[in-house]
Every structure is written in structure tokens, then in C-alpha cells.
């Protein structure tokens, strides 16, 4: 058992460089041939924020004091999860030619998509800081704790991404379904509306939405300068770990059969 774990760790170290190369490839290919290149990772959330602010800020003026930041904080965390898991979903079937020809630990493909998402999030955070500066939002010291919720979401997305990548190999339907699911998930997460508008029944369901907890956590740090309670921390950590354990379990059980189905 112990030697097995040591071996796993050794292969991880050996292929750590490949993980890096895959992430670099992802980012390079995404922005190849675009004039502004990487700048788009910063511009994209900014432009989206402007659109959403124009559309929704009048509706929720009373209940959300700092709408641009409220929106950005929510949407950055949400799209980190939604984009990276959507990409992870295609990561195994998309690399079929490679998986059939060379031996590579297969979890590297979904994992590399989540890491690319993380890099993107890093750039998008710059956009948020710029807007905070322009709108005179106070910079609380709790901002230094932002890596904590990001780590929670990273672990959560990795687990979800592993499950999606494995399941899509056997059922391509999932690829079509997940797009709709993400749309529904977007509306069911308080990204551009306050939870106070929800009826009590909906609020109960909302508490089952992992993204709701992560976004709340993130907003507490950015907007309110509060460090969430131990209970919230435990809750977030447990959701993430459950996702990761499930993901690793499903992926490892199915990975040897991938090559026969792609």
C-alpha cells in the first residue's frame, strides 16, 4: 500500500512537467491569432460586468450596494468552476489520439483543464481589483485570504471534472446535457441577484448548491471584510473533499477502459 502511494507520487512528479506543458498549450492555443491575446482574460470579465451592470443594476439597486463588485466576485468564482469543468469534460475524448498512442497518466488531461481555469481566474482577478480601485471599494485585509475559497473551488472542480471526463467517454450525451445544466446552474446561483429576493422554499434548495457557499465565502472576504465562520469553512471543505474523493474513485475505476471507447 505504502509503496503504491510512493509510486503514484513518483509518477506525479515525473509528469508534473507535462501538466505544466499542457496548461501552457491550452492558454497559447486559446489566444493564438487574437491581437490582444492574454489581455482578453482581463477584458472579458470587465466587458461582461459592464453589460450585466447596465442590465441589472437598476433592478437590484436597493439591495446590492456595490453591484459591479458583487457581480464580479460571484461570476469569477462561478465561471472558474463552469468553464474548467466544461473543458475537463472534453479532455479525455479530445485527446483520444494521444491516449491511444502513448502511455500518460490520464488524470492529467482533466486536471490540466482545471489548472488552466485557475490561471485564467488569476488574470480575471486583476480585472476585479481594477474595478475595485475605480469604484473606490475598500481593500480589506481579508483579500489576502482569497486563496482559501479558490482552493476549495479548485478541489471541487477537480472532482467534478474527473467524473464528467470519465462519464463522457461512455455516454456522449453528457456533453450535450452539461451545457444546459450549466445554464440552469448559473440562474440558480446568486451571481447577479441577491438571495433576499428568493422565497423561503427556494432558499432551502439553494443551500444545497455548492457554488452558493463558495460564492458567499468569496464575497465575505471581498465585500464585507469578514472571515467566514469555522462552520462555513468546514462545510466548504467537506463539499470539496466529497467531490474529489468521488471523482478520483470513478475515474480510477474506469480509466483502463477509456482507450477502448474513444
Amino acid at each position: 500500500m505504502k509503496t503504491k502511494l510512493v509510486n503514484h507520487f513518483r509518477t506525479f512528479l515525473k509528469y508534473q512537467n507535462l501538466l505544466k506543458e499542457l496548461v501552457i498549450r491550452d492558454i497559447k492555443v486559446r489566444y493564438r491569432k487574437s491581437v490582444l491575446g492574454l489581455l482578453w482574460t482581463v477584458l472579458n470579465p470587465l466587458l461582461m460586468m459592464i453589460v450585466i451592470t447596465i442590465v441589472f443594476s437598476t433592478i437590484f439597486k436597493q439591495s446590492i450596494p456595490n453591484f459591479p463588485i458583487y457581480y464580479l466576485a460571484g461570476s469569477l468564482i462561478f465561471s472558474f468552476n463552469s468553464e474548467s469543468t466544461s473543458n475537463a469534460l472534453y479532455s479525455i475524448i479530445g485527446n483520444a489520439s494521444l491516449i491511444k498512442k502513448v502511455y500518460i497518466p490520464k488524470y492529467l488531461f482533466p486536471l490540466s483543464k482545471i489548472v488552466s481555469g485557475l490561471v485564467n481566474l488569476g488574470f480575471s482577478l486583476i480585472a476585479m481589483f481594477i474595478v475595485m480601485f475605480i469604484t473606490n471599494t475598500p481593500f480589506y485585509s481579508t483579500l489576502l485570504l482569497l486563496p482559501i475559497p479558490i482552493a476549495y473551488v479548485f478541489v471541487f472542480s477537480t472532482g467534478l471534472g474527473l467524473i464528467l471526463a470519465a462519464a463522457t467517454v461512455f455516454f456522449r450525451d453528457i456533453a450535450h446535457f452539461y451545457g444546459v445544466f450549466i445554464l440552469a446552474w448559473t440562474y440558480f446561483t446568486p451571481i447577479f441577484y441577491p438571495v433576499s429576493i428568493l422565497p423561503e422554499a427556494a432558499m432551502k434548495v439553494m443551500k444545497l448548491n455548492p457554488m452558493y457557499h463558495y460564492i458567499n465565502y468569496f464575497r465575505d472576504l471581498v465585500l464585507h471584510g469578514i472571515f467566514p465562520s469555522l462552520r462555513e469553512n468546514l462545510l466548504c471543505a467537506i463539499i470539496s473533499l466529497v467531490s474529489l474523493i468521488l471523482g478520483v474513485f470513478v475515474f480510477y475505476r474506469k480509466q483502463d477502459r477509456f482507450v477502448l471507447y474513444i
Binding site: 509528469y15 494521444l98 498512442k101 502511455y103 482507450v259
Partner: protein, 242 residues
């Protein structure tokens, strides 16, 4: 001394459903009709052999006899349905040249990506970079995206990367037919020098002559089973006289 490649009773089963079931509706229908995992196909049956360090093994057999499947099992790409495969040391698979290339990236970027796929660090690849480019004769195309390469150029680059250093085990699947005759000679020479330097080689070919020239041992596969295993000349004789 332990054998470099050791196969113990390896069998590989494929599920040959006429149409691949990859959507849920089909799956449920077939599950109800109980025709889901129906047609079994054994590409390899009870294969056992050992090869020692420095041996070079040629694998011969007709089309569909399981040669490529065997290589993929040894390379770790396919996991055998039953049985055990042990390969000691580093493996360089030459199963399809340029398999890990990304068409949108340049030759330079692909060298680092492909190196990483084989498990080498960036610094190591930087050291080998010039060798690879000059062996592949691509000095003028370093920063051109691979999608603009001819198939010969891609294969040359793939070969140069895969054989840039001497692996413990080299696995080759009929790739020597790349490029023009000059490059074929060059790649042949490199393979021979790898064999001479003590690497263990496993080599699939339709050409009995090539196997006789390069290998000291041979394995004759027939419908997924070992028909003969032993000295390369003897096996090749038997195979061509069948």
C-alpha cells in the same frame, strides 16, 4: 538478472459491438434486450515470454494477428484483460510518430510538449533541442505550426524526439517507412546504434528481412496466439515457409 520485458499469460479482450453504444438511450435499450456485451473478440490469448537486456525481439504475423495490440500492451497503452506485464526501465514507444503533436503549435513548442509527454523536463529538452532539429532536418521550419508540415516532416520530427536518447526499452511499430530513402537509412542507422548500445528492442514488421537483420529473437503471432518463439532466423524461416 531479471528480464527486461516479461509477459505472463497475457490476454486481451475487445468488445466488438457492431455499433458502439455511447448514448444513454441505446444503452438502456440494449441493456433491456440483453445484447450489450455480446461479441467478444480475443486479440491476444495467453501470451507469455521473457526477453533479457540487450535482446531485440521481432514480432511477425499476418494482418490482424495481434502484433500492434501486443506492442500497445507492452507500452502500457492498453491494460490486458488478464495476465501480467512487467517492463523494467524507461520505455520509448514509436507506435505512431508525432502522436502527441498539437497541430496549432510550432515545431519548437511541440518538441517541449512531446518531451513532456515522454516524461522529460524542459531543461533536458533544451539540451537536446539542437540535436533533434538537426536530425529531423527542420532547421528552416522551427517556428512553423505543425499543421503546415508535410506528413514526412512530422514523422521525421516524431522519430527524432522519440529516439533522442537511449531508452532501456524501445518499442517500434512499422514506422521505419518514414520519409525518403535517405531518411529511412538514417533512422535505420539510429535504431541499430540504439540496439548496439544495449537497449532492449521490440519491433513489429511485415518485412522478414528487416527482422532477420535487426533482431536476435522473434515471435510469431497467429490469431492472437504464440505460434513460435525463439531464434530470429529459425522463426523467420518457419514463418516465410508456412
Amino acid at each position: 538478472m531479471a528480464a527486461m520485458i516479461e509477459l505472463d499469460n497475457v490476454s486481451m479482450m475487445f468488445n466488438l459491438s457492431t455499433e458502439r453504444v455511447d448514448n444513454i438511450k441505446e444503452y438502456v435499450i440494449r441493456l433491456l434486450k440483453k445484447e450489450l456485451f455480446f461479441k467478444e473478440f480475443w486479440a491476444l490469448r495467453n501470451i507469455s515470454f521473457k526477453i533479457e537486456k540487450g535482446d531485440s525481439l521481432g514480432v511477425v504475423g499476418l494482418n490482424g494477428s495481434g502484433k500492434s495490440t501486443l506492442l500497445k500492451v507492452v507500452a502500457g497503452i492498453l491494460k490486458p484483460t488478464t495476465g501480467k506485464v512487467i517492463v523494467r526501465g524507461s520505455v520509448a514507444p514509436l507506435i505512431e510518430l508525432g502522436a502527441g503533436f498539437d497541430a496549432d503549435l510550432s515545431a519548437r513548442e511541440n518538441i517541449f510538449l512531446n518531451g513532456a509527454i515522454l516524461g522529460y523536463s524542459r531543461e533536458y529538452m533544451e539540451d537536446k533541442f539542437d540535436d533533434i532539429i538537426s536530425f529531423a532536418e527542420l532547421q528552416d521550419f522551427i517556428d512553423v505550426p505543425i499543421k503546415n508540415f508535410s506528413s514526412g516532416m512530422t514523422a521525421r520530427l516524431g522519430f527524432a524526439i522519440a529516439t533522442m536518447n537511449i531508452p532501456d526499452v524501445l518499442i517500434v511499430d512499422e514506422v521505419l517507412a518514414v520519409g525518403d530513402y535517405k531518411f529511412q537509412e538514417k533512422s535505420f542507422a539510429r535504431m541499430e546504434s540504439i540496439i548496439r548500445s544495449g537497449a532492449t528492442v521490440m519491433f513489429v514488421s511485415h518485412s522478414v528481412e528487416q527482422v532477420k537483420k535487426m533482431c536476435n529473437k522473434a515471435l510469431w503471432l497467429d490469431h492472437g496466439e504464440v505460434k513460435m518463439f525463439g531464434d530470429a532466423n529459425e522463426v523467420c524461416e518457419a514463418y516465410s515457409n508456412q
